[in-house]
């Protein structure tokens, strides 16, 4: 119904588009055809044209203005620079020894001579007529006054140039290529130095142009024209078509843009009404923020394999893998009976005349808790005269809703404590009641929160105050005190009810609850350890203890409650799976695999060893199987072993089991790890170990023998010092600093991990330059050390080399190690066979002398194992 309202007159030229872009739009998009006669194409184009002219004029004015501003600024800048150059002159003139400045002297000589010539040769014409005097002026100084001014060239002693290289960044471990480094789908121009021509390398022109088309966003002026045109002429197909033509876009694009624009306008209009809603919403979202949400960035950024944030090798947003097997609970036996601090539940309980405190017998503790708290209440009764009022108020509230009291009253009476007895013995019938009540509580808390937030900011900081008060106060005290400070007398009773109700739910924020859960997962019901390690500064041991017990009591009753669902069943084993599957669902990946014994792990491993001679190794990705892996296991399907990063239990048949080598030091093919081109892993192998240091620190080695594992050198970065220098053969070369024996590990060939597709694209240009640093890693990745790598990338090719390269699986990742093929003396240059495919090898790779570039195609380590054995 755009044109039902008479179109407003076109506004005068706006000072800028920004001001006009907020102008209202005729809102209704539907049924635009139904209204009056739609404007003709000519009308539309006239309007659009005038608007376009207006916009273009605006643009010219704005450019002019900006140019003027810039010019203004630049005047100051260049004047300052001019001053500096004058200062340089002044500074050097006062300097005594600068008087010998030869450039100044020559300049003066030349000027003098020039003037002299002028004086002697009155015929100044010769210089004024450039066409005639080209030669004469040029030779003027050289020939006419030859003796004085013959310019003898000064020789610059030759400096040997470096062998060419592209600037590169050192990598101590491989990195996966970031998206912006890709050359796929990008237009590149390669300049052929020899041919003197530029070659364009791109997949296809259209592809690229399409990309750019998509990126085009609506600019302010287009929005403006769109708004104004529609306002004037209403919305019709003619208008849209003309606009589309004018912007050279699709009609649908224009329409979509118009819709978003009018939405924006509506939003701006309705913002006043929306204000209050927004606040309440943000409040809710604050309440809802729990541990999972807080951990979201952790889950996305933390690499569980490398234990670093923002892992460059495995990347962010990896699939989360949760181990099927739980870690055993952490035990701290020596602190069994000692209080962990002044707020330890033990000391609190002791003060309540209950001497033997153990958390093992739950019902027992429950009673003690209640008794202890009540006794403590007595002891501190004087100090809490004010509080007693609120206590009494809350006891009134008890009558109103009894179960809410039982939930949040920190063991106020034995009655509630007995209700909160071990869940197993709890009658099921209570569940419904509890549910209802807790729901109510949750509602009230919400209302209460909102109320308070409006009234006073102090309540916001309740929980913070609480944390600071690390005295013997119980959970309830500080908020009550602070609320009384605010002297809100009118609603005194009611406030306190709310407070009492909310105490436990509110003061335990969702995040804290989440942390508690995690703590119980790690430490069991050990409140000392939980408070110290996870809730330090937030909650005291006593508070944790109370909460655990209270929670325990409530748990079975409040199963369906949204606010408490997080806590549910965390300490109970049978709930574990349910919880996890929920987590997985959130991530959009549920894998329920049937348990099967049909896997043939060892067989497949052996097969891989033999097969690998022809085909490259396969990239490992951890599986998330929750039971021993069956046919559907991605690892099994992919032909890789399960590793320690997989979710499957250790009993999984597809797991690589490591070695049991005792005295062989894992240096031969007798070691299963070695035979499978893997490094030993102390997490997996049974006997592999290394001593700590060289003994100089006085730490005795763990065992008396010398049988430490020698197959962990890449993992431990026990590499040789490699030097970079001018190669004896060609270009750069890598040299060894110290002598090493046969099969010694020298270092890693690091680089960017790129896909084979990417490598093909990059390789085209590398091959043209006859300098490639590509290295086949496995079926998915190629290492490119062109811009990122280490010094070993400069080791040259030789058909009869002194080193060899080998792809080794280290903690789930394939890495390239360079090893000594023979004994190498200090200072020797390192060579290895690039192993080019016969038909692809460049000329130099076939000759005895190698040249300065390298490429590895095919399986790099195939067949080498044989030589080792």
């Amino acid at each position: 119904m755009a044109s039902k309202s008479p179109p407003p007159p076109p506004p005068p030229l706006p000072p800028s588009f920004a001001s006009s872009s907020r102008s209202e739009l005729p809102v209704d998009l539907s049924g635009n055809k139904a209204n009056e006669v739609s404007p003709t194409v000519r009308d539309v184009s006239m309007v659009i044209d005038s608007l376009k002219k207006q916009v273009a004029a605006e643009r010219i004015v704005s450019v002019k203005k900006r140019m003027e501003e810039n010019r203004h600024k630049l005047v100051g800048v260049t004047n300052n620079l001019g001053r500096l150059s004058m200062e340089r002159m002044a500074g050097s003139e006062t300097d005594a020894h600068r008087s010998l400045d030869l450039l100044t002297k020559r300049q003066k000589d030349a000027t003098d001579m020039h003037n002299g010539i002028h004086a002697s040769n009155d015929d100044g014409e010769s210089n004024s007529y450039p066409e005639d005097s080209h030669g004469s002026t040029a030779v003027l100084l050289g020939s006419n006054v030859a003796v004085k001014n013959a310019v003898r060239p000064i020789k610059l002693p030759e400096i040997k140039r470096l062998p060419p290289y592209t600037t590169w960044i050192f990598l101590d471990r491989n990195q996966r290529m970031t998206e912006d480094q890709s050359v796929v789908g990008r237009r590149r121009i390669y300049y052929d130095q020899n041919g003197g021509e530029a070659l364009i390398c791109s997949d296809s022109e259209e592809e690229i142009i399409d990309d750019e088309e998509e990126k085009r966003e609506f600019v302010e002026s287009e929005d403006y024209i769109l708004r104004m045109t529609v306002r004037e002429l209403g919305l019709s197909d003619t208008v849209l078509d003309s606009l589309a033509q004018c912007f050279s876009r699709n009609t649908s694009e224009i329409k979509a843009r118009y819709e978003t624009l009018s939405k924006e306008d509506n939003a701006a209009e309705g913002s006043k009404n929306g204000d209050t809603k927004d606040i309440s919403q943000s409040e809710n979202s604050f309440l809802e923020k729990d541990l999972e949400a807080a951990l979201d960035s952790f889950d996305n950024l933390f690499c569980r394999r490398c234990l670093v944030f923002d892992c460059r090798l495995h990347g962010c947003s990896q699939d989360l893998v949760f181990p099927a097997e739980k870690q055993p609970l952490w035990n701290a036996p020596d602190t069994e009976n000692a209080p962990c601090g002044p707020n330890c539940f033990r000391s609190v309980l002791k003060s309540g005349r209950f001497s033997k405190a153990t958390s093992s017998a739950q019902a027992d503790v429950e009673e003690k808790c209640s008794g202890g708290s009540s006794s403590r209440k007595k002891s501190s009764a004087k100090r809490r005269t004010k509080c007693s009022q609120s206590e009494s108020a809350s006891s009134n509230a008890k009558n109103i809703s009894e179960s809410s009291d039982s939930e949040n009253g920190p063991g106020k009476d034995a009655f509630s404590a007995s209700q909160a007895a071990p869940p197993k013995t709890k009658p099921v019938g209570r569940g419904g009641v509890g549910k209802r009540n807790s729901k109510r509580v949750a509602e009230r808390v919400l209302v209460c929160m909102q109320k308070r937030q409006k009234k006073t900011a102090v309540s916001d900081s309740d929980s913070i105050v609480e944390g600071d008060h690390s005295s013997n106060d119980m959970v309830t005290e500080p908020p009550v005190l602070s609320s009384e400070d605010n002297a809100r007398k009118e609603e005194f009773v009611e406030e306190n009810i709310c407070k009492q109700e909310s105490t436990d739910n509110k003061s335990w924020r969702a995040l804290e609850k989440g942390l508690l859960e995690k703590g119980m997962e790690i430490f069991g019901r050990n409140s000392c350890l939980i408070a110290r390690n996870l809730l330090n500064g937030l909650k005291t041991c006593w508070e944790v203890f109370q909460y655990i017990n209270w929670d325990e009591g409530k748990m079975s009753g409040s199963a369906g409650d949204g606010a408490n669902s997080l806590v549910e069943g965390y300490s109970k084993g049978n709930n574990e799976v349910r919880r996890r599957s929920r987590f997985l669902r959130r991530r959009g990946r549920v894998r329920r695999l049937k348990y099967t014994w049909k896997s043939a792990a060892y067989h497949s491993i052996r097969k891989r060893i033999t097969e690998r001679k022809d085909q490259p190794c396969r990239q490992y990705n951890p599986c998330g199987c929750q039971s021993a892996c069956g046919k559907q296991c991605p690892c099994l399907q992919n032909g890789t072993c399960c590793e320690k990063y997989c979710g499957c239990p250790k009993s999984c048949k597809n797991r690589f089991r490591g070695c049991h080598c005792a005295k062989s030091q894992c240096r031969s093919r007798q070691c299963p790890c070695f035979a499978a081109d893997r490094e030993c892993d102390p997490d997996v192998c049974r006997n592999c170990w290394v001593s700590c240091g060289d003994g100089s620190l006085g730490i005795p080695s763990q065992r008396g023998d010398n049988y430490e594992c020698r197959n962990m050198k890449l993992l431990l970065k026990q590499q040789q010092r490699v030097l970079l220098g001018r190669s004896d053969v060609s270009g750069w070369g890598a040299f060894l600093k110290n002598s090493v024996g046969k099969h010694e590990y020298l270092g890693e060939y690091t680089g960017e991990l790129i896909s084979h597709r990417e490598a093909d694209k990059r390789g085209k240009i590398y091959d043209r330059e006859n300098s490639s640093f590509l290295f086949n890693l496995n079926d998915q990745f190629v290492l490119d050390a062109y811009r990122k790598g280490d010094k070993l990338k400069f080791a040259n090719h030789a058909p009869d080399p002194n080193c060899y390269a080998k792809v080794i699986m280290v903690a789930g990742d394939h890495r390239v190690g360079i090893f000594a093929k023979e004994r190498i003396m200090a200072g020797e240059e390192l060579f290895y066979d690039y192993r080019y495919e016969p038909d692809r090898a460049p000329a130099w790779a076939r000759k005895p002398e190698a040249s300065g570039s390298k490429k590895e195609d095919g399986a790099p380590s195939s067949g080498r194992a044989k030589k080792l054995a």
């Binding site: 140019m67 600024k73 020789k155 030759e158």
Partner: protein, 374 residues
């Protein structure tokens, strides 16, 4: 591939009709040698030498002076003993005590620092992995120079102590030869570089400034200086779709050119929060016909009032830079000037324009607007 401009963001394009605001005449022509001359530059660093200029070509660096009446005097000449050296670029700099330095580089990748006050080589910087395409001097601190190289890096050097302070390369660096680089005229931390990867990048050395300061007091071996890599630019602009072979700051705007017969003036709008991203607003265009080969550089006078650029056919276009729309001050044509002009030099006040050509000639043009023809 023509770039599509949204409505209201079209650049203002200058008209190719010469206004004859200034009238230039050829006053001299020199044949320096057979080898192409790639660079010519006036000394703006030290006001004693405003009429002194230097050229490079082949293995030769030559210092000249412009005298009255179109006369050019040869002051000094330097020859690299390595005959294969081919210098591509030269820049005036100075020692901390004010000694006039010439800094040149070329195909060998070795930067030559010459003390023209004592006519001796002062230092040679070895470090670049390939040829050097441009060297520029920081006018605010004239012993700092920056070099752009084929090895895909830009390096900041202290010519006084001979230290390579920073290397601008790595994860966010150029992906092909760097052809041109320039210091921001007032913001001492900022540089702009461009090259064969078709991008223009703006870098900031603010976080690394302590290293720059340290380089002045460094007494140990230069090789032991903790040279830092600056891996990420603060702005990455795709203004051109082909090699970008020259860029210069014009205040906070950037002038850059590709092989599309024009110089483009644009404003980089850097977003402080998200480094590396930003918007380019193309403000003006200065058409230069027959300028479609790469490695043709333009130059400005001291106050950036005008820019001169040669083309493939030996013609020079002099644009008034800061007027909107741009004004073509003059078009310099001479029947004998046919060789591609690689670089021009505009004198301090714009009264002299020099050009150096592929055929090894130097041309001098003088402003004769107010000089009555004799």
């Amino acid at each position: 591939m023509a770039k599509v401009f949204g409505l209201g963001s079209e650049p203002v394009v200058g008209l190719l009709t010469p206004t004859k605001k200034r009238d230039y005449r050829v006053t001299n022509r020199l044949q320096e040698g057979k080898r192409p001359l790639y660079a010519v530059v006036f000394n703006f660093i030290d006001s004693r030498y405003l009429s002194v200029f230097a050229t490079v070509g082949g293995n030769r660096i030559t210092v000249y002076q412009c005298l009255e009446g179109g006369v050019i005097a040869v002051l000094q000449s330097y020859v690299d003993e390595d005959k294969d050296e081919s210098f591509y670029t030269v820049s005036w700099a100075s020692n901390v005590d004010g000694a006039p330095f010439l800094v040149a580089g070329g195909i060998n990748g070795v930067i030559r620092v010459i003390d023209t006050g004592s006519e001796r080589i002062y230092k040679s910087f070895v470090g670049h992995g390939d040829s050097i395409n441009e060297i520029r001097t920081q006018a605010l601190k004239s012993s700092l120079v920056i070099s752009a190289s084929k090895d895909e890096s830009v390096r900041l050097w202290n010519v006084h102590t001979g230290i390579c302070i920073l290397i601008f390369a790595g994860a966010g660096g150029h992906r092909n030869e760097v052809l041109s680089v320039d210091f921001h005229p007032s913001d001492i931390y900022k540089i702009a570089s461009c090259g064969m990867d078709n991008t223009v990048k703006i870098w900031s050395m603010k976080e690394f400034w302590s290293y720059v300061e340290k380089s002045f007091t460094w007494t140990d071996l230069p090789s032991k200086f903790p040279t830092k890599y600056v891996q990420f630019p603060i702005f990455n602009a795709s203004v051109h779709s082909n090699y970008v072979d020259c860029n210069r700051w014009l205040g906070d705007f950037i002038l850059s050119k590709s092989v599309d017969n024009e110089i483009v003036l644009w404003e980089p709008k850097v977003k402080e929060q998200t480094p590396g991203e930003g918007v380019v607003d193309i403000l003006q265009k200065y058409p230069v016909p027959e300028c479609d080969i790469w490695f043709i550089k333009f130059s400005c006078d001291f106050h950036y009032n005008q820019a001169a650029i040669g083309n493939r056919e030996g013609k020079i276009f002099v644009w008034e830079l800061q007027s909107s729309p741009p004004v073509l001050i003059a078009r310099l044509v001479h029947p004998q000037s046919k060789s591609p002009i690689r670089q021009t030099a505009v004198s301090f006040d714009g009264s002299i324009i020099l050009s150096c050509c592929e055929d090894g000639t130097i041309w001098r043009w003088d402003d004769v607007t107010n000089v009555p023809p004799a």
